[in-house]
């Protein structure tokens, strides 16, 4: 099992997207995003279980952006890009809000049955790599990577 990392990358190279999606920071935009993402991933022949896991991860990052980066304010941009590599899928989620501050992250204690704070935990459980880049003029670029299982495409 590949370690799931949550690390600062200090500048992520552009991925060369095969598809991009633009939304604004309202929760009622999330269903439209999921519909787009599902269509894209299925179209790239990613196994359905992996598509579902990606939906969870990207959805939680978008939740995080809406709640924290934009503090619940509507109308701010969120851009999602999908890149397909022979050995991996890469999804970037970019915002222009307050940069993500990892000092605010505490893994949830599942034994206490928490009502909040499970979002990034679910992201880390759903993809193989999680990185974020705040070395930008504004906002954060999250990168979510899933490795292909089996021989390269």
């Amino acid at each position: 099992m590949t370690p799931r990392l949550l690390v600062y990358t200090g500048g992520v190279p552009d991925a060369g997207y095969v598809a991009t999606f633009h939304m604004t920071s309202e929760a009622d935009q999330l269903a439209r995003m999921r519909s787009w993402l599902w269509t894209q991933l299925v179209g790239q022949a990613l196994p359905l279980e992996e598509c579902s896991a990606y939906l969870v991860a990207v959805g939680e990052i978008c939740n995080n952006v809406i709640k924290h980066a934009y503090r619940g304010e509507p109308g701010h941009p969120i851009t999602i890009g999908l890149a397909v590599r022979p050995d991996r899928f890469v999804i970037d989620v970019e915002d222009e809000g307050a940069p993500y501050d990892p000092r605010g992250y505490t893994p949830p204690d599942l034994d206490t049955v928490p009502e909040h704070g499970m979002g990034l935990f679910l992201v880390r459980k759903s993809v193989d790599e999680v990185t974020f880049d705040t070395a930008r003029p504004k906002g954060t670029r999250w990168r979510l990577v899933k490795h292909r299982v089996g021989p390269p495409a």
Binding site: A27, D28, L30, A31, R34, S52, L55, V56, G59, E60, N63, I66, K67, L110, V113, P114, E115, H116, M118, G119, F121, L122, K125
Partner: protein, 111 residues
């Protein structure tokens, strides 16, 4: 969000229809806790029509569960779709909430 609410004797069955995400999590939480406040704290939550749930939705279920338990009731969950079941397992919610295969089984489990 479309949420079906049906009485089954002393049990109340609640069946949301659609994704339970950040956009509707508060509505689901309020619907469930509202039932508890009306004295209907023995709940069955039928998730057959929920194909996607996020951390906000799970948080709403946890809040409602705690509210129901504080009122002497509880929530029994049934009909989990595979992706939803995976999230219950990931967050260990399946260890905290009784999960049943069918609605009938969940209602019967109240005794």
């Amino acid at each position: 969000m479309d949420i079906e609410v049906k009485d089954a004797g002393k049990i109340t069955v609640v069946a949301p229809r659609g994704d339970v995400d950040m956009a509707v999590a508060d509505e689901v939480r309020q619907r469930l806790t509202g039932l508890v406040d009306q004295g209907r704290a023995r709940l069955v939550l039928d998730l057959a029509s929920v194909m996607y749930i996020d951390s906000s939705g799970l948080g709403a279920l946890v809040a409602a569960m705690k509210h129901a338990r504080a009122a002497g009731g509880d929530i029994k969950v049934c009909m989990l779709e595979s992706d939803v079941r995976a999230l219950f397992e990931m967050t260990r919610l399946n260890k905290v909430l009784a999960v049943h295969t069918t609605r009938q089984e969940a209602v019967a489990a109240w005794g």
